[in-house]
Every structure is written in structure tokens, then in C-alpha cells.
Symmetry: C2
Subunit: 227 residues, 2 copies
Amino acid sequence: MEFAIRIKMNEKLYLRDPEQSELGRKIVKHGLELITKLGFEEFTFKKLAVSINTTEAGIYRYFENKHKFLIYLIAYYWSLIEFRIVFSLNNIKDPERKLKKIIELLVFEPAEAETYEFVNTKLLYELVMREGSKAYLTRHVGTDNKDRLFKSYKDLCARFSSVISEFNPKYKFPHSLASTIVEMAHAQKFFKTNLPSLTDFPNEKNHNKLALFLESLLFSSIKTTKS
Amino acid sequence: MEFAIRIKMNEKLYLRDPEQSELGRKIVKHGLELITKLGFEEFTFKKLAVSINTTEAGIYRYFENKHKFLIYLIAYYWSLIEFRIVFSLNNIKDPERKLKKIIELLVFEPAEAETYEFVNTKLLYELVMREGSKAYLTRHVGTDNKDRLFKSYKDLCARFSSVISEFNPKYKFPHSLASTIVEMAHAQKFFKTNLPSLTDFPNEKNHNKLALFLESLLFSSIKTTKS
DNA sequence: ATAAATAGATAGTATTACTATCATAAAAAA
DNA sequence: TTTTTTATGATAGTAATACTATCTATTTAT
């Protein structure tokens, strides 16, 4: 059996749907590669155009500017993660197991080769870790938010939050706790490699310790207020 | 009695010490105002130069580029907060009270008029909330970190972390917990105004709820593992 | 076969992120 | 006091960025 889910992106994220054409898919695929290679600040549409043998104007037909392009990629990532969560939680009844599964999926770093549709999920993960918060840390968060550009991120947090409330309906801060865990899944990973003194994770390859930390953060919060 | 503490900044943060001259202080004061007004991306040295009637070249004599300038301002903020923490904890013995005090100081938003030396602390707070993580989310974190540009931030987290360990020596993740709380003090505040569905704080003026959330996060973690 | 949509090629512009040079004024050293 | 240093101002220049516009060739749908 083989199947592919298609992630439906908000139309305000692009000018022309990049999934519908060869050029569009090339822009997304190589754009992701180039951003993760250069970093968002150094990334330009010109450099991307050169790397895929098209013109700057060609890319501008798909994306308004590089910031929208970043939001597009990040929204794609969160949709993917949310889908995985929905899929994985499907047969689980116990909210505790659900929550552990969510953390596992958040912390899980895809293998090198893993490619979903036309994007490399490992690179997407890197991107979200290094550039994720730049999507909303702008002066135009308000309008971007009205345009529902952050919907996939907010949906994910809402879903997480509802499982928290399922576990413990009395807990007062399910949304903040969810967004805290989601943010920290990436921030602590970034710290681990770049500012290690901010973490307690010695330089090991896997993320077991990070997952343990997030679990302890989550469960001690929602268990203490339970009774 | 009147006194002023002087925050000693890392020399790699600037080319010429801005505190030592009228122009330097003007750059810092008005630069802070302009960044918070325009946002970091829209802020340029040219615009700052015009606003204080000097030239671009004049500003480049003090700061290598606008990113270093951002780091300078943010480092200044964290030093200030650390100083306040040291000062406030001075006579407190009980680690629980110490930790509550730290959270209070992290969450506390300065009043409009409050100005420390030549910088407006309210604007600094805004800056750290909106642009804080851009200081380290770059390709050159590594070298910047080697140059000790993030020392004040790391010192603050280390101090926080040591109080956590004082409260509960058995707790496994004091550093990660400290950096989580510090990050979230600002991120949740940002979410509250800009992406409110990610939080549980209805639009009220003060930050009591945020402080409560952070306290619950902190204490439930370190109390559950205590015995 | 014709019309419409897509992509390529080229050009142009205001702004950004700098670097360099020279003159002058003020402060510090001789 | 004179000299020297240092800080600032004024001006110029450059490569790159972030776009917009236009025109042509090529596919694709009708």
C-alpha cells in the first residue's frame, strides 16, 4: 500500500501555488536547502534563482517575499507534525500515553534521508529550530495572524492543549503549557548545540534527555494540580 | 542617598565604548527608541543617523553593525536584570522565596517613565520581548558565543539555575528549567498580546497570571522530584 | 487553431550595508 | 602655549538587496 497525504496550505501564504508546477516545487525544495545552508538573513531570492537556473522575477511570481516564504515552509512543517500527531494518537485512549507520544513527535529529529513529498523533513526540522520564531517576531504579526498564516502552529498547540485538559481538566494553563513545550522542544535543542550551558544535556546524539525534561515539565505540572 | 551602578559591557560588543561620549550615549538611547519603534528588520543605521543628526559613518565608529548593536542592548538588559536579582535576593535565605522573587523580576514590566542611566528600561523590556532571540538565532552564534557576547544572559540563567539546585539538589534539569522560564517570561508575554490563543491569559493589564503560570511550572517540577 | 497561462530574459530603481577619505574642532599632552 | 591626538562631520562611492516592469517565447487548455 502506498499513499500520500497532501497538506493544504493557506492561500495567503503564496501568490501562486508552488505545489502545482515544476518550478514551484523546485523553489520550495531548493529554497529550503538554501535557507538552512545560509541562514535566513543571508538567504536571498537572487541566490535561489541562480541555484535553480531561473530568475528572481520567476520566484517573485510564487512568493511575495522571503519572509512569506519562510512562513510557508514553517507552516508546512507544523501541518506535517500535526498530521503525524493525529495519526499516531488515533488508537490511543490513555491521555498520558497521548501526551508522551506528542512529546516524542515534537522532539524526534528526522533521519537524513527522510523526505516527505518534495521537501526534506530533516531540513524542515532544522529550519524550524533555527528560524522558527522569526516567522512571528515581526511588526506585522498582527496582520499575518489575521491572514491566518500561523494557523497550523496554533492548531497544533490547540490540539496539544486539549489533550492536556483531557488529562487534567482542572489544570489552569493548558494553552501556555502546550506552547511552552512546543517552543522548548526546539529551543532547548538549539541551546544544546549552540549555547550548551543553558541546558543539562551533555553532547549526546539522541534526544532522550530532552524528551525526559519536557515530560517532567509537563507531567509534574498537570499531576500536582490534579487532585 | 543617591547612587548609580555602572554596568560593565564586554568590549567585543562595540568598537568604541558608547558610554564614554555624548554621541555614543545618543546612539544607544535613540537607537533603542528607533528599534522598538520600527522593529529590528526595518531599523537601519542610516535612519538612526538622520534621527540624531549625525552620519552613518559616525555610528559605524561605535558599532560594527546593527546586529552587534542589538546584542549590546540585550546584553545590557540581562545585566541589569541580573543585578536586580542579586540585589533583591541579598537578604533572603529561603530558596523558595528567592525563586518567587526571580520570577517576579523577570515578569515585571517597567513603568513608562523608568529610565536607567541613559536607557529607557521599558523600551529595553519591549526589545528583549520582540527581538531577544534574534540575538542568538544566527549562523554566527558560535563565534559570537566564543566572544562571550551572551555572557550576561548565560550568567543570569546560571544564577537562576543555582537557586533551583539550592531548593532541590536532586532535580535533574536546573539549567534547562531556568532557561525555559527566562525564555517563557518574554515569549508568553509576546503571545499574550500578539497570538493570544497560545496562552491562557485574558487581556488584562498586569502579569499576575503569567507569574502564576511560571511559578507553577517551576515549583511543580522541583517539588515533585524533591522527596 | 486560437487564446490563455506560464516561464525566461532583461532592465531598472530605491535602499541597505557598508568602506574610504579629508577637513575641522575640541581635548589632552608636551 | 604649542603641538599632537582624538572625535566628529561631510562627502563619496560600491556591491548587494528587495523589489517592479516589460517583452518574448513556449506550453497548455478550449
